[in-house]
């Protein structure tokens, strides 16, 4: 009897200890699955507001179409008028920028900034944290009223633009509340805040998120995601001809 009680107590203690260590592989997979639409198409209207000290805000409105299962994405800018018709087309690892004035497609990169804002082109594509990063440090913490994991993620390949990220992840549902991106030299590049989410077909995408530039004080970009839709998207949307046609 005594042995049984001792064994049970030890088992409970071990369970309690190991229960606190998160399964990062699962958590990152969960984060990716919440942000990705692998079985269905997704589109939404993105409003990107960029603020710089001493300058008027710049506002870009774009419609983003994603087909994550085929690694395809089309971004079509509708506002401001000067940029109307500009767009991006992703097919697999390649990204092109389309300029309706020159009617030419030029190679772009996921690592480049989106239209001179604090956002990067990679911020609009599917999430691949599990594939590209591994958690090297973590600790418990709190952000506002939420219990969070504060995890440090280091890139495992050179495909991603940010070699190190620090994330504040809600413990209860694995939603990201805050991200800090660091350079190779471990200097803070930018901070992203995700104050609210919306549910789309059982997945959670941010309603809006704010990116603060850590190198240029006072500069920030706010991205609002509206009119999310999972309606099927015609195949033609993911072809060059679509951008050429629409921009006319």
């Amino acid at each position: 009897m005594k042995k049984m009680i001792t064994f049970s107590l030890m088992w409970l203690l071990v369970s309690a200890l190991f229960g606190q260590v998160p399964n990062w592989d699962k958590i990152l997979a969960d984060i990716d699955s919440q942000a990705n639409f692998d079985n269905i198409d997704f589109s939404a209207r993105y409003t990107v507001v960029s603020s710089r000290p001493g300058q008027d805000n710049s506002v870009i409105v774009a419609r983003i179409f994603r087909r994550d299962r085929e690694e395809k994405m089309t971004i079509l800018i509708s506002d401001p008028p000067a940029q109307r018709g500009q767009g991006y087309l992703q097919i697999g690892d390649s990204l092109w920028f389309y300029d309706p004035e020159s009617r030419e497609f030029a190679f772009s990169s996921f690592k480049e900034s989106f239209q001179n804002t604090d956002a990067q082109n990679s911020d609009f594509t599917r999430s691949s944290l599990r594939e590209d990063y591994r958690v090297t440090e973590h600790e418990d913490g709190k952000l506002g009223r939420f219990d969070v994991w504060i995890a440090t993620l280091d890139a495992v390949n050179n495909a991603v633009p940010v070699p190190r990220r620090k994330m504040w992840i809600r413990k209860d549902n694995n939603l990201i509340l805050k991200v800090e991106d660091y350079s190779v030299s471990r200097r803070l590049l930018r901070t992203m805040l995700f104050p609210s989410y919306q549910s789309v077909q059982g997945r959670f995408i941010p309603t809006r998120f704010v990116i603060e530039d850590a190198l240029r004080q006072g500069e920030k970009t706010q991205i609002t995601i509206e009119e999310p839709s999972i309606a099927p998207i015609p195949d033609s949307v993911f072809r060059r001809e679509y951008l050429e046609r629409v921009s006319r």
């Binding site: 990169s109 690592k111 050179n158 495909a159 190779v184 030299s185 006072g218």
Partner: protein, 446 residues
């Protein structure tokens, strides 16, 4: 010979008229000489300064695809082939320098202000050409080797609001596409071209290697400085052939393509080449093939010939006046012509006499104009030794050590002399023929 001496003596007889006529011709030639020399000087300064800011008269680059990211990068992991090729080609360069150039632009940041510029990593102890030719506004290049010092253009310093000793952030993309940031100290500020072409920020090579994550001690551009720009194409061809002989398995971008597109243009072609998925491509480019250089050479050539043509038109106007002047001369000297004819001078000798007077007038006018032009160029060329020029400012890029290294285009000058002589001859031809046709008796009677 006698006719020539006689013609010369006749010119000196009418000193005032000869002086005025010759002076008009001399003035035109003076303008031509000065403009030509200044244009040549501007080109010399531009050439020298561009060469020093570029990586030499000829530069060798090697591009490869990163196997993981497929991103294009410049890297020279070992330079034994190119070094051997230089030796075998028999080029005998003045300098060979090794630099790191960031393929993508970097961003300099200082308290919220930023400026996007090219970044170049310099081996400060072994890059004498840049060190001696960078025209500094402030600061010094001493102690830059192994430091976090940055040498920035004056326009960049102004935009960022920085001065010597200020610290700036430099944001760049590594060769594998990651974002990186390092802090640097502004150690020197140099005169920039203010929009002539993009200017770079110069950093210690190891500092830049660290920033863009290139291996320590490595570089990605090898530059060859020749003794003269004119040797460039010859040296490029020999180096090209030598490299191909030594490494036939390596892929060299065709010479014709490089000559047509320049280095940057060739990079773009390689970048878009969908068949280039692995391995490397080698590029031997020449500064003379760069579009901006060709454009500038074209502009200078246009200025040289344009000024010459303008002076030719002015001379034509002068020529119209010369026709009347020669007519007047013939009328005034009819008695003299009659006397000479009566003494046995033949018609063709009379013709020859007047034509030689015209030719000598043109040649002496050209010589005077040329000498005055040379004197003016010499004075201009003294630069700050004579002028009080506290700031040459943007002009610095067209000067060598703050002086105009003027140079005459002898081809243009030679053609101009011929045009001048031809114009004066044509002005004098009709009156001279009229003089030659005069009968002695008629001439003496008049």
């Amino acid at each position: 010979m006698k006719i020539i001496l006689l013609a010369l003596r006749n010119l000196t007889r009418q000193k005032r008229r000869s002086f005025l006529l010759g002076g008009a011709l001399a003035f035109g030639f003076y303008v031509l000489t000065t403009v030509n020399g200044c244009a040549g000087g501007v080109y010399n300064g531009f050439e020298k300064n561009v060469v020093s800011l570029a990586t030499g008269h000829i530069y060798y680059s090697r591009l490869e695809r990163d196997p993981e990211t497929k991103k294009l990068r410049l890297l020279i992991p070992g330079d034994s082939i190119i070094t051997q090729a230089i030796e075998e080609a028999g080029i005998k360069p003045q300098y060979v320098i090794r630099r790191t150039q960031s393929l993508s632009m970097g961003t300099l940041i200082h308290f919220g202000k930023s400026s996007v510029r090219g970044l170049e990593g310099i081996d400060w102890e072994n890059d004498p050409y840049l060190v001696s030719n960078l025209s500094l506004v402030k600061g010094s290049l001493d102690g830059l080797a192994g430091s976090d010092g940055a040498v920035i253009a004056q326009s960049v310093a102004k935009k960022l609001g920085v001065d010597i000793g200020d610290r700036i952030l430099i944001q760049a993309t590594t060769i594998t596409g990651q974002q990186n940031v390092e802090e640097a100290e502004v150690k020197a500020i140099y005169h920039d071209t203010a929009g002539v072409f993009q200017v770079s920020t110069f950093l210690d090579r190891e500092f830049l290697n660290r920033l863009i994550q290139m291996p320590p001690g490595s570089y990605n551009t090898l530059g060859i400085f020749l003794n003269h720009m004119n040797q460039s194409h010859w040296a490029q061809e020999r180096l090209y052939a030598s490299f191909q002989r030594l490494a036939p398995q390596e892929v060299l971008v065709p010479l014709e393509e490089v000559r047509e597109k320049g280095a940057n243009g060739s990079f773009q072609v390689i970048r878009k080449d969908s068949e280039f998925v692995s391995g490397s491509r080698h590029l031997i480019s020449c500064l003379q093939d760069e579009p901006f250089f060709k454009s500038f050479r074209g502009i200078i050539s246009a200025v040289e010939w344009g000024s010459a043509v303008t002076v030719y038109f002015l001379l034509v106007l002068v020529g119209v006046g010369l026709v009347n002047t020669f007519r007047l001369i013939v009328r005034e000297r009819q008695r003299e012509i009659g006397t000479m004819r009566a003494l046995g001078m033949q018609r063709n000798e009379v013709l020859g006499l007047f034509l030689w007077e015209a030719v000598l007038l043109a040649l002496l006018g050209a010589l005077l104009g040329f000498l005055l032009g040379l004197l003016t160029l010499w004075v201009i060329g003294l630069g700050e030794n004579l002028w009080v020029l506290p700031e040459v400012g943007e002009l610095a890029f067209f000067l060598i050590n703050n002086r105009l290294a003027w140079q005459l285009n002898l081809g243009v000058m030679a053609v101009s002399v011929m045009v001048l002589v031809a114009m004066v001859l044509s002005s004098a031809l009709i009156p001279a023929r009229k003089a030659a046709k005069l009968e002695p008796a008629e001439a003496l009677r008049n």
